[in-house]
Amino acid sequence: MCATCGCAADGAEIRLIAGAGADHEHGHDHDAGHGYDAGHGHEVGDGYEPGHWHGHGHDAGHGHEAGHGHEADHGHVAAPRAGESDRTVLLQHKILARNDGIAGRNRDWLRQRGVLMLNLMSSPGAGKTTLLERTARDLAGTLSFAVIEGDLQTALDATRIGAAGCRVVQINTGVGCHLDAAMVASALRVLDPAAGSMVIIENVGNLVCPAMFDLGEAVRVVLASVPEGADKPVKYPHMFRQADLVLLSKADLLPYVNFDTERYTSDVRAISPGARMMRLSAVTGEGMPDWYQWLRDRNPAAAGR
């Protein structure tokens, strides 16, 4: 809920926690009216205007978009059959069309700005925040990235990431178990990432739901941790199947827990044959140089140097 106008941003609250302008700025314009801008194009200027940015829900009597891109044809109405009052309307509508459309606009906007966005996903407590904290501190001055934090409640993670030196926006989903593309569009608008920069989304800790929702990221990183056990990839194949990089974190705990590394490795290979795999520990620093090199290789600011 926005404290200024009382509107709900799809039930999610989006706040800039650390970085310039971190007082009351958030995902919508108070001067732009609440109508959902219909059929507008891409404006890649200073602010984030990814075509369909909208932090407002469709719940509160705001304007309703007309004639937007996805299959806006109304369904074909079949003639009622004899003795039957019901009519069948063929829709053939992809259920995630709206999310995928907004994700596509996020992706286009980021590409035009030369910004690389990563979607980092894991179960709760697997070590996403700790990994990002250490990464920010170790790479300070050589590679900078902004962070979009997704949690149901609290800005605890954003506060940690901000203290590590990153510009960070917190999305609180309320009861939502995942981030969606509209929330990320709002967060990008607040974050306003510089051209040629990197944005890392720390998704809501969950190995199920976030796999469904394209956010407009260029790269998907899935993190599993040693104490969770080696069976996570086979238990959550939908998540691992879509990964570009699979990280095994808390490697410093391998001597103390029963973790079948061979099984884990062969399962990840079977589920996601194209994914790169790395083992690391943000506590001891083991494996971190590989992760840093992987980030540097993708750093848009370094491209063409």
Binding site: H58, H64, H74, G75, V77, S85, D86, R87, T88, V89, L90, L91, Q92, H93, K94, I95, L96, A97, R98, N99, G176, C177, H178, D180, V208, C209, A211, M212, F213, V234, P237, H238, R241, R269, A270, I271, P273
Partner: protein, 109 residues
């Protein structure tokens, strides 16, 4: 429990396409590789449609079989589960069908 969000997207899409129309039946296609559990959608549906034009509508879910193509041996096969492994042992597999998540049709009163 993204099935609740999925169900809400269904309601949103139907009411946008057919504003002010009373819906008596919704037919969905949920592929076995879509990542959505049909039973969970059934569980959510009555609750999520309450107070909308879809309230009381019947829900029909079509669950087509998944089909994959093995890039190693060239055969097409139906995967035995969410881990897409060909009988030849290869994991280098393309999904041909079973990932879709669609509203097929609705019946209006």
């Amino acid at each position: 429990m993204h099935e609740l969000a999925i169900t809400e997207r269904v309601i949103e899409a139907v009411t946008e396409r057919l504003p002010g129309t009373l819906i008596t039946c919704v037919r969905l296609e949920i592929g076995p590789l879509s990542g959505v559990v049909a039973d969970s959608v059934r569980f959510c549906f009555d609750l999520a449609t309450e107070g909308t034009n879809l309230e009381g509508a019947r829900l029909e879910i079509v669950e087509p079989a998944a089909r994959c193509h093995c890039r190693t041996c060239g055969s097409d096969f139906e995967p035995g589960g969410p881990i897409l492994l060909c009988d030849c042992g290869s994991a280098d597999v393309a999904v041909l069908a079973g990932q879709d998540l669609k509203i097929l049709s609705v019946q209006v009163a």
